[in-house]
Point group: C2
């Protein structure tokens, strides 16, 4: 991987992830695999089925992620570590919620591209 490729992959992933989350949440399934883990606030989920069940269970009609910062670094096994901070606008709430999220991308075994091996999400209320 060239020296700055990881940063452009990270940025593309983040744009794709939140755009899909906000418009077609089921479209996130191909970004996870059977070994993927999600920590969402204090709860843990493993594998694409558990993860998608959790993401689909979140109770709001409309959501919009606004990304503020995307940091990234190359990781082991040709992975990419991505660290996002941003705000969430949910339904008709006037006040955005601050969030932070970590994605650890790993190369797909076949077909190129990356999937999300680790995913950790936190709301930073305050």
């Amino acid at each position: 991987m060239a020296s700055n490729d990881f940063a452009s992959v990270a940025m593309q992933f983040v744009q794709h992830y939140y755009n899909t989350f906000d418009t077609n949440r089921n479209g996130l399934a191909p970004l996870y695999g059977e070994a993927s883990m999600l920590t969402f606030e204090d709860a843990q989920f493993k594998g694409v089925q558990q993860i998608m069940q959790k993401l689909n269970s979140l109770q709001f009609q409309q959501i919009r992620h606004q990304v503020i910062k995307v940091d990234s670094q190359p990781s082991v096994n040709n992975g990419i570590l991505v660290f996002v901070t941003g705000t969430l606008m949910v339904d008709n709430e006037a006040n955005p919620l601050k969030f932070a999220q970590v994605f650890h991308l790993q190369p797909n075994a076949q077909g190129g591209g990356y999937y999300c091996f680790n995913d950790l999400f936190r709301l930073n209320i305050g």
Copy 2:
């Protein structure tokens, strides 16, 4: 690694890291290696020398990290991904600063234990 060992390693690492940062910053050097990377706000550093130079350059007399949440997951290559949110009290500032930090721990090549391969730090002001 047993199913919950990663969480106790993560918690021990976090306690040790911030206690050392707040009392004896030079003592952090053994937690980094030559391949380690630090992203501190928008700046990038690589290797123990660059990283320690950056950490030692931070301008305050007193600092105290207060950890609010520590999330962790097993990572590839027997690593552990650690995601911390907390507050920083700096010098005589009345208002704590919110921060979030990601550590990607990897096993040491020799002697057991872990070092910090990826480190990403962000202040969440607001």
